[in-house]
């Protein structure tokens, strides 16, 4: 009797494990402030997030296959990062403000911002190998996606299908088109969103190592010092390449990440980026410690009097011996 019970438990466990490996989820992340995204003369109760969620569920009901779905409003960098790396998430739709512009002179204006105005465009590089569909519902989202592909930022996710528009986009219309595109992909291949039993062998350049990892020797340590107060989520960039991410934290603890040593050798500069613009005040970025065991040291870019230069971001420069 007991043996049968154990067998049953094992069987259920195996069944759950199998189901887990084939789990696939579609996630809608919206990052819009309803107060500032309400057409004029609408009632206070008019809420863009509720409208989008309702539309999303309506479109989902048209799909022939059953999908596990999740909606997260007011998504910020931490939610975006976690969703991009979630092994169960195979389709992600981001709805937020974006702009992609070049001027003829010195400047360019390119940003994808969350509801707090943080530029989170670099975070999309963290797309995990499980991701099959990424829709960027924001103005000119297609230009970002094309540029990332051209730069090879999605080379570790060769099967990733993307959707974005080159024109100015209305939130609900953009969502409808993004869902329509996904529906076409699923109609064409009913298993499109299903997880593959074996993950692609192509490794993401965006990869962490653990201290007990065999590959620890090829890694280098980046440590964000202890926070004395709530610390913003920060992206760690090299040029515009994302090499690490520290989620928002309100706990007093040091954060540590190991990244490929070769990444640091190629360019001797690291940018710690919160995404906040220059008019934002009082952003706690903490201090990075980078263990440079190949010689030299890393210094914060600052004035001769020791004032860090940069608002919402800090730059660390490698100084050779």
């Amino acid at each position: 009797m007991t043996q049968n019970l154990i067998k049953l438990i094992i069987f259920i466990g195996l069944l759950c494990g199998t189901m887990q490996s084939f789990a696939h989820k579609i996630v809608l992340l919206t990052s819009l402030n309803p107060e500032t995204n309400r057409p004029p003369l609408r009632l206070k109760s008019w809420n863009i997030n509720k409208k989008l969620e309702k539309k999303f569920n309506q479109y989902l009901s048209k799909f022939n296959t059953s999908l596990s779905a999740e909606v997260i409003h007011f998504a910020g960098p931490t939610e975006l990062y976690r969703t991009l790396r979630d092994p169960e998430v195979t389709a992600l739709i981001w709805v937020g403000h974006a702009g992609f512009g070049d001027s003829e002179g010195l400047g360019q204006t390119r940003s994808i911002v969350d509801h707090k105005g943080r530029d989170i465009k670099s975070l999309f590089q963290a797309a995990g190998p499980q991701l099959k569909y990424l829709a960027l519902v924001g103005c000119q989202g297609a230009f970002f996606l094309n540029e990332w592909r051209d730069k090879g930022y999605f080379s570790h996710v060769p099967k990733l299908q993307t959707y974005g528009r080159e024109v100015k986009t209305d939130a609900r219309k953009g969502l409808r088109k993004a869902m329509k595109r996904l529906e076409e992909l699923v109609d064409h291949d009913s298993k499109f969103l299903e997880q593959e039993t074996s993950q692609p062998s192509i490794k993401s350049p965006f990869q962490y190592y653990q201290k007990n990892d065999d590959q620890y020797e090829i890694a280098q340590v980046i440590r964000l010092n202890e926070a004395k107060e709530e610390m913003e989520a920060v992206q760690i960039l090299q040029k515009d390449r994302l090499i690490a991410f520290f989620p928002q934290s309100n706990t007093i603890q040091a954060k540590e990440v190991l990244i490929k040593r070769s990444n640091l050798k190629s360019a001797k500069k690291i940018v710690l980026e919160s995404g906040f613009g220059p008019l934002t005040k009082d952003i706690n970025l903490g201090r990075l410690n980078i263990e440079a065991d190949e010689g030299g040291h890393w210094d914060l870019f600052q004035t001769p009097s020791g004032k860090p230069i940069g608002i919402g971001k800090h730059i660390y420069q490698h100084i050779g011996d």
């Binding site: 995204n37 390119r110 986009t169 220059p278 230069i309």
Partner: protein
Amino acid sequence: MKKILSTVLLTATFILSSPTQAIIGIATDSEATAIAGLALMDISQIWVVESRSTTRRTRRGGFSRSTYVTYRVITYPAFLIAGLVLLDEQGRAEITANLSNEQIAQAKLSDAEVAALKSEIEEVNAIKDMIASEISSVENDEQRMEKAGQLWTSYSEVLSEDTAIALFKLASLEK
């Protein structure tokens, strides 16, 4: 036709639901058509008719009330009229080192200056952000510009000489 009708309906809905303005209609269908066609452009105009009432004291000591209508043109961004939520973002102005050969030639930049600017572009943008933050409290345009110039001069000390010169040459081109 369906789009035009839906736009007219949408427009009428928001106009009639306005609690603060006694707007009673839009002038012509052709303007509504224009709104539908211009849904993703910046500006369109609509005529509105407003009904107003005034009360005044008469010579006999009583009160009289008169109602009149006014016609005026109001200008709204078309996307707001159609009830859309456009996801555009003005974007952060970033200084870029991706210069065309034409720009390099016009600004007479040397190879060393171009290389220096490319190498220090993150630092240049960090300085730009600092200056933007520091001048944000200056209200007068002229004073703000002057202050920015002073700050660029001051902060450029932490840049290499080649980068500072490249910036100066390019900024002179922009004028």
